[in-house]
């Protein structure tokens, strides 16, 4: 059953490529990655995509909630100020939902607090689980800064966390529960995530090279992206369809043939009422791990053939985990707006087992529809289909 597309009326992003959309856009256009040595002490080599330490302070009344996550949120809200003004002019505060995604929440704060607890027998006196770690903390900050009073929650489905809020927003608006939604996600670097992916033998010691025959795994990045979805408004792009599926296969390994991934892509197309031939470009999940890239590329090829250009942007930003889905949806919108897609950084030479068309150079052209994939632990899959506003 196809559904009415919804306008995306604003978006902002911030990650290791830069503090705002313009900086991220420039780096992608120039094929310049944002990965570097971590400031976190680690017993192994890797590189990360870190947000520069010049984040804005929260206003005094929100100071008790000040964390890196919250301050990234504040930066994104500030970047969307004109669009949010327009949105608030169209809808009552209680009709504006906030649905965010994160996989780490305040884990960076908690792991440092807990380290001090182990060393000194007490948590830092200013540490507060409910203001520094839990999902309610970032919701409180974003709601206050954005002036939204509608339903609000955080989706935490690992690496699909910030793609799923787009689906939640669509349902909330379709069901008449909300008229607009501020959606997206934020993740920050922490030692536990880096060591965890290392334990899975998934972390690359060098900048990740998704789809490349020489790929050695993924890198972790931090950052965030927010998008505004409304019942009506001046669109930058249209949210046309979202597919969600489960692999029902393994808690941390993808289905070897990408069955769940294909199902998510098919469902996104079905929701939009479109054939696969309507899609001009796929922004892949493309982590750079041996298993993901082959399985995902096979699923993409089986559905879209060998002509549709496929890009992973994780070679630029690292894997933003709970912020990846929203960030890559935002990058997909950039492609629609500007008529180019970035090179899949580091992909050359492409793995001979991969037959999808991996774009090893920037491609210019007219893009009417872009599909953005996100896959996660638990076998959780999301495909977001965005269309040009024209």
């Amino acid at each position: 059953m196809s559904r009415t597309p919804l306008p995306i009326t604003g978006y902002a992003m911030c990650n290791g490529l830069g503090p705002d959309r313009a900086a991220v856009r420039s780096a992608l256009f120039e094929g310049r990655g944002g990965l570097g040595p971590p400031s976190i002490e680690l017993p192994f080599e890797t590189v990360v995509g870190a947000v520069a330490d010049d984040l804005p302070e929260l206003p005094p009344e929100l100071a008790p909630w000040s964390t890196r996550t919250a301050r990234i949120g504040a930066r994104l809200i500030a970047a969307l100020a004109p669009e949010l003004d327009a949105l608030r002019g169209r809808w009552r505060p209680e009709r504006i939902a906030v649905v965010l995604g994160t996989s780490t929440a305040g884990a960076d704060v908690t792991e440092n607090a807990y380290r001090r607890f182990l060393a000194e027998g007490a948590l830092p006196p200013d540490y507060d689980l409910f203001r520094h770690h839990t999902y309610g903390a970032i919701l409180h900050v974003v709601r206050r800064l954005a002036g939204a009073e509608g339903p609000s929650w955080v989706v935490s489905t690992a690496c699909t966390s910030s793609a799923k809020p787009l689906a939640s927003a669509k349902r909330l608006i379709e069901a008449g529960i909300a008229d607009a939604a501020i959606v997206g996600g934020i993740d920050t670097l922490c030692a536990m995530t880096l060591r965890g992916f290392r334990s899975l033998d998934a972390l690359s010691p060098e900048p990740a090279r998704p789809f490349c025959t020489d790929r050695r795994g993924l890198n972790i990045g931090e950052g965030g992206a927010l998008l505004l979805v409304e019942r009506e408004g001046e669109p930058l792009a249209m949210l046309e369809g979202i597919g969600e599926s489960s692999d029902a296969h393994h808690i941390s390994a993808p289905h070897p043939e990408g069955a769940g991934a294909r199902l998510a892509m098919e469902r996104a197309l079905a929701e939009a009422g479109l054939a696969a031939s309507a899609v001009d470009h796929v922004n892949a999940h493309g982590t750079g791990t041996r298993l993901n890239d082959v399985a995902e590329a096979a699923a993409i090829e089986s559905l879209f053939g060998r002509e549709v250009p496929v890009v992973s942007t994780k070679g630029y930003t690292g894997h933003l985990l709970g912020a990846a889905g929203a960030t890559e949806a935002a990058i997909a919108i950039l492609a629609l707006e500007e008529g180019w897609i970035p090179a899949s950084l580091g992909a050359d030479p492409v793995d001979p087992k991969i037959h999808a068309r991996i774009a090893t150079e920037r491609i210019h052209g007219r893009f009417d529809r872009v599909l953005s994939n996100s896959f996660a632990f638990g076998g959780n899959n999301v495909s977001v289909l965005v269309g040009a506003a024209r």
Partner: protein
């Protein structure tokens, strides 16, 4: 959500009780002190946290009572803190023991561990999600579930739970005990006659007459998922009225319950 949804099943894991019916009757049972997670194959069950097993028990109860096909039904899982004990275990490994992290513990430390384990156990390739909103988690999980049922015209199981938080992070006097609760929802036109109906899911008008939450011990009553438990108690008792979905620590959302067949 002008038309509402029907509730066609519910289930719970309440420490020491076989069901909410038994809890209401005061029939404690030592064999139900810990969650089992019988829905999950033994190998995965051993790796699953108490929270994941409790959510699986509550989910299984609701699905069975509703007669839903486990491989087909959509699901929304809610938890304020998720797998926080697993996370603390990983931090201990990192900071105390100095050993590499357990890959299995890391993979099951994600908030959607239960959703993943249950989708694998039931071979369900459909929609599942996992969310949190502190003490508003039950209300927001219901909003997400109702959004699914209303926009898709399909059934959904909404399942919320939280395990006892580590004392190191949440001091005992603020802590709570393990609890998991699930409700099976479907669009009104698919519901059997007489099924209770939920509607008016919204912030409570503070002056509106509301259902008084049942007396629970304080430790259970502090669980962030207790609002869904209070809803299930209202359903078990056949009570009509507006049920608050938190006990004062959240944003004050509630939902109206109506039993169409009741006199």
């Amino acid at each position: 959500m002008s038309d509402g949804v029907a509730v066609v099943g519910w289930g719970a894991f309440v420490p020491g009780f076989a069901s909410v019916t038994d809890w209401l009757a005061g029939r404690a049972s030592a064999e139900h002190a810990a969650p089992v997670g019988a829905l999950v194959p033994l190998r995965d069950r051993r790796r699953a946290s108490p929270l994941s097993r409790a959510l699986a028990d509550a989910y299984a109860g609701a699905v069975e009572r509703a007669g839903f096909e486990p491989a087909q039904v959509a699901s929304v899982f809610g938890s304020a803190l998720g797998e926080v004990s697993t996370m603390i275990g990983l931090l201990d490994q990192m900071w105390s023991e100095g050993t590499p992290l357990s890959p299995m513990k890391f993979a099951t430390s994600v908030h959607n561990a239960a959703a993943g384990v249950i989708s694998i156990a039931t071979a369900n390739r459909g929609f599942t999600t996992s969310l949190g909103a502190d003490y508003d988690t039950p209300a927001m999980a219901l909003v997400e579930g109702l959004g699914w049922a209303s926009s898709r015209g399909e059934a959904v199981v909404v399942c919320c739970g939280d395990e006892a938080p580590p004392d190191d992070l949440v001091p005992g006097q603020r802590g709570w005990s393990l609890l998991a609760v699930a409700v099976a929802l479907c669009p009104l036109e698919q519901a059997p006659p007489g099924a209770p109906v939920l509607d008016r899911l919204a912030p409570l008008a503070r002056s509106a007459p509301v259902f008084a939450p049942p007396q629970t011990d304080a430790v259970l009553g502090r669980n962030p998922s207790v609002g869904l438990f209070d809803l299930v108690v209202a359903l078990e008792r056949g009570i009509d009225g507006v049920v608050p979905l938190d006990r004062g620590d959240g944003r004050g959302w509630g939902v109206r319950v109506t039993h169409p067949g009741a006199a």
